[in-house]
């Protein structure tokens, strides 16, 4: 039988794991951390100002117009929701498959999910043009009729899917955090810290009877999150696929979107993990090159899936024998937005093929660069789907172009400020490696395993 690779390097014991993980929470961060925090906060401020101006002066500031009614907001919303999917994949699907290597990256990947979904949630609200009426999206007894939402609309399905996903992901993340927060509570030296982590850990005691129910619930949540995560991006794709527009109205959309989401999400995990390994030295023992290589393999696989979807769309357009459908796809690749299509293809299909080489899969700098390319490519994939399908309307007299403006730019880049600020604060406030999951797998791959 092949020997299992060692999961945690440097022969750590239980105590060292606790020390390593808690040290991040218990020490005052250095200058580098504050520099990063300041940078992301400045970006966030830029985001807030952009959003404020759009909310006050209206959607006209952004690039959307007639016929391109869906623009940056929808593109970036789908982008961030997609990023979130890798976290759930790691924490739930790999858990169900008993993949022990997931333990050291699961917490951070889940945090990424939660923050990505939070960031994503802002965009559709901004897109409505009247974000202060966002609560109208939810069905609740009201004095406007009562006026209910239209459950036949894919946009309302999306409200339900995304908010359920956000709630369940946060719960899953929090349930995982409870025992580790209790560890921080028990190590606390001062009263304030003890109080805060005492409240957060809800009085966790760690008895065998607690663990018995806890483990069961954790597995149930993994089991429920798995169909949930697949449903979320399927429903996001319904926003497009259920309409009658050539280029959107295709049955391949749900699996194509889910594959793309996993692809972009894993790229983001690799981006974050390669940064974390550089910034926090002892992360290297927990997130090893083996972990990153496995994730790169998933990126490569999903890249092939996404590439296949691009090809299948073209094939079906040709096979349908329908002129309008064929035009929509030829226009995508060779029309006025040809550049966005080919950015997408090179970043998503061509560049990740470098991961066929083991040396590249294990090279930190190269994988970091490739993961950035994948993120760019996946943003452009949603841009291609949304904008190129809209800009050629059915009547040539209604044709138009998307007017990308500085406000679109602010919304895209600014949202990274929100994401990274939340992520940086998370790193210093919550235990960023799941101690209660890593400790049982410490001995995996070591010679003294029994």
């Amino acid at each position: 039988m092949a020997k299992r690779p060692i999961l945690v390097l440097d022969n750590k014991d239980y105590k060292q794991v606790t020390e390593d993980v808690c040290s991040l929470v218990e020490t005052v961060p250095g200058k580098n951390f504050f520099a990063l925090l300041l940078a992301s906060k400045s970006l966030l401020l830029y985001f807030i100002i952009t959003m404020g101006l759009i909310a006050v002066y209206g959607m006209g500031l952004m690039g959307v117009n007639s016929p391109v009614g869906w623009g940056t907001d929808i593109v970036t919303f789908v982008f961030w929701i997609g990023i979130g999917h890798a976290g759930t994949l790691i924490s739930a699907i790999l858990f169900l498959f008993r993949q022990k290597w997931r333990t050291s990256i699961a917490r951070t990947a889940e945090a990424m999910t939660v923050f990505a979904v939070m960031t994503a949630g802002i965009f559709p609200l901004l897109h409505t043009g009247r974000p202060w009426l966002a609560h109208w999206l939810l069905p609740y007894p009201n004095q406007r009729g009562p006026l209910w939402v239209n459950f036949r609309s894919p946009l309302i399905w999306d409200v339900f899917a995304v908010s359920t996903y956000a709630l369940v992901s946060m719960t899953f993340w929090y349930v995982g955090l409870v025992p580790d927060l209790a560890t921080v509570r028990d190590r606390a030296k001062n009263k304030v810290r003890k109080f805060i982590y005492g409240v957060l850990s809800m009085g966790w005691r760690g008895t065998a009877r607690h663990w018995n129910h806890y483990e069961m619930v954790y597995m149930i949540l993994a089991g429920l999150s798995t169909p949930l995560v697949l449903s979320v991006h399927s429903i996001v794709s319904f926003d497009f696929a259920v309409s009658q527009l050539p280029g959107w109205h295709t049955t391949i959309f749900p699996p194509y979107f889910v594959a793309g989401a996993v692809f972009s999400g894993f790229a983001m995990v690799v981006t974050l993990m390669s940064i974390l390994r550089t910034v926090i030295p002892h992360f290297k023992h927990y997130v090893t090159v083996n972990h990153l290589e496995l994730m790169n393999k998933i990126i490569m696989t999903t890249s092939l899936l996404v590439g296949y979807s691009y090809a299948a769309e073209f094939f079906i357009a040709w096979y349908s024998g329908h002129g309008v459908e064929q035009y929509a796809f030829i226009n995508r690749a060779f029309g006025p937005y040809w550049w966005s299509y080919w950015i997408m293809v090179s970043c998503n299909v061509i560049i990740p093929q470098l991961f066929w080489f083991k040396k590249i899969r294990r090279n930190l700098i190269v994988m970091f660069i490739i993961s950035i390319f994948v993120n760019i490519g996946m943003w452009f994939e949603r841009f291609v789907i949304t904008v190129t399908s809209l800009h050629r309307d059915f009547l040539p007299s209604s044709w138009g172009m998307f007017n990308f403006s500085a406000y679109d730019l602010g919304a895209i880049f600014g949202s990274f400020g929100l994401f990274f600020m939340l992520f940086l604060i998370y790193l210093r406030v919550f235990p960023s490696i799941s101690m209660s999951e890593v400790k049982p797998v410490l001995k995996v791959g070591r010679d003294d395993e029994h």
């Binding site: 239980y14 209910w148 369940v168 005492g198 009085g203 008895t207 069961m216 949930l228």
Partner: protein, 196 residues
């Protein structure tokens, strides 16, 4: 001036103390034994169960593989609750979409039937998951007695790298010597009187 301020602070403190005593998790007096090796603890727990001790607790920083068998802890019943919570969510989803779309706010959209079930499946699905997931977590917290205030802590390392067995006074039933023997046999690093 200073005096009245102090008495007010004093009063607030007593009120908080009263509240704290009221909501504090109840504890029992008993004996606690500590280990650094989780495998030894599981063996000790097995031996205790075999020699007729019950009602003791094993406390660990992570779930121990095999402790349920050693302590005769039955399989958690939560999956059943999850199933019925999911059914509740599903039933609520079906009823709610039907009531809104057919009874309270019937909208004719493209001549489609009022009760267009296929279009409501995403909503019903999401509600099923939502009820099942949040309900199960709430139930887990409830049966584990969480949230609790100032839970008893046997040792500050019990959530880091120490493992303990705690047996309340009334479960020892005068067999203290026998218990001590089991603890020593499996190499407990410390045995002390404690509250948990």
């Amino acid at each position: 001036m200073m005096n009245t301020k102090n008495t007010i602070i004093q009063k607030i403190k007593t009120i908080f103390c009263k509240i704290e005593n009221y909501i504090k998790s109840p504890t029992k007096k008993g004996t606690a034994a500590f280990w650094l090796d989780d495998h030894q603890l599981i063996k000790a727990a097995k031996e205790m169960t075999d020699s007729g001790f019950s009602g003791f607790e094993a406390v660990s920083p992570f779930p121990l593989h095999g402790i349920d068998e050693a302590m005769n802890i039955p399989r958690s019943f939560i999956p059943w609750a999850t199933f019925f919570l999911g059914l509740t969510g599903c039933a609520f989803g079906i009823w709610f979409t039907w009531w809104v779309a057919v009874v309270d706010w019937p909208l004719n959209i493209g001549g489609k039937p009022m009760w267009s079930f296929a279009a409501f499946i995403p909503i019903i699905f999401e509600l099923t998951i939502l009820f099942a997931a949040l309900g199960s977590v709430a139930l887990m917290f409830f049966i584990n007695g969480l949230p609790s205030v100032n839970p008893p802590i046997l040792d500050k390392d019990i959530t880091s790298h120490k493992f303990a067995i705690f047996i309340p006074e009334e479960e020892i039933k005068g067999r203290g010597a026998e218990l001590e023997q089991i603890f020593n046999k499996f190499g407990a690093i410390e045995v002390k009187q404690s509250e948990f």
